[in-house]
């Protein structure tokens, strides 16, 4: 057990440390919430983009089909139809959808890997840090009590 003679501490600095730990816990909890929010916002944004390009692909595919039917009719009448622009538009939508889907997959993988670390960090904030603060405040209380005892005899 630590005796009064072994105690070397600036109580004000320890109080400041305990208060700083409390501020740290609140601040980091807010950080963790914002981090989770950013991940969800990215997922939602990618889904919105995917949905938009799916719709565009459907419309562009319909335009290409109409163009090809028209071109076939024109070819029957001896004229040459040109659907290159429609084909390029369909290809662009397909490529962009593929890219978005790849990113959705990557983001899901990253978010899954991050979840474990984030969960441990939340446990730290909810369980370990309050224990550390409690320990520190008990130390401070002990130091204050021991110094009160020392005053009459000094």
């Amino acid at each position: 057990m630590t005796g009064v003679a072994d105690i070397h501490a600036d109580i004000d600095a320890l109080r400041e440390l305990a208060d700083a730990l409390t501020r740290f816990r609140h601040g980091q909890r807010e950080v963790a919430d914002r981090g989770d929010h950013e991940i969800e916002a990215t997922r939602a944004s990618l889904e919105t983009k995917a949905s938009r390009w799916r719709s565009l692909l459907v419309r562009r595919q319909a335009a290409l089909n109409a163009c090809q039917m028209s071109a076939a009719r024109d070819a029957g009448a001896g004229a040459a139809g040109d659907c290159h622009a429609e084909q390029a538009a369909v290809r662009e939508a397909q490529e962009r959808l593929v890219r978005i889907r790849r990113w959705q997959q990557r983001v899901d993988e990253e978010a899954g890997a991050f979840r474990g670390t984030a969960g441990r960090f939340r446990d730290l904030l909810d369980l370990d840090l309050p224990r550390a603060e409690h320990h520190l405040r008990a130390v401070i209380a002990g130091l204050e009590a021991s110094r009160r005892l020392r005053v009459p005899g000094t």
């Binding site: 914002r34 981090g35 944004s45 890219r99 978005i100 670390t117 984030a118 960090f121």
Partner: protein, 70 residues
Amino acid sequence: MPDRPDEDAERLLRVIEAAWHQAQQDWRDDMAGRFDRVHWAPVIAESRLYLRALRECLDIMNTAERDTDF
């Protein structure tokens, strides 16, 4: 524009480490050593792990957004 969460986390870590170093100037008894081992070191280690993971994850999120802004 608000800072990224990982930048705020880094700032909070710097503040708490400064408070610890300040407290250590005058707290050098057995209790200080125990507090360091049992509480402080794990808190800082886990916080640094989280910070690194958060930074990497947010970098990926930002790249995903940029790479799909057509």
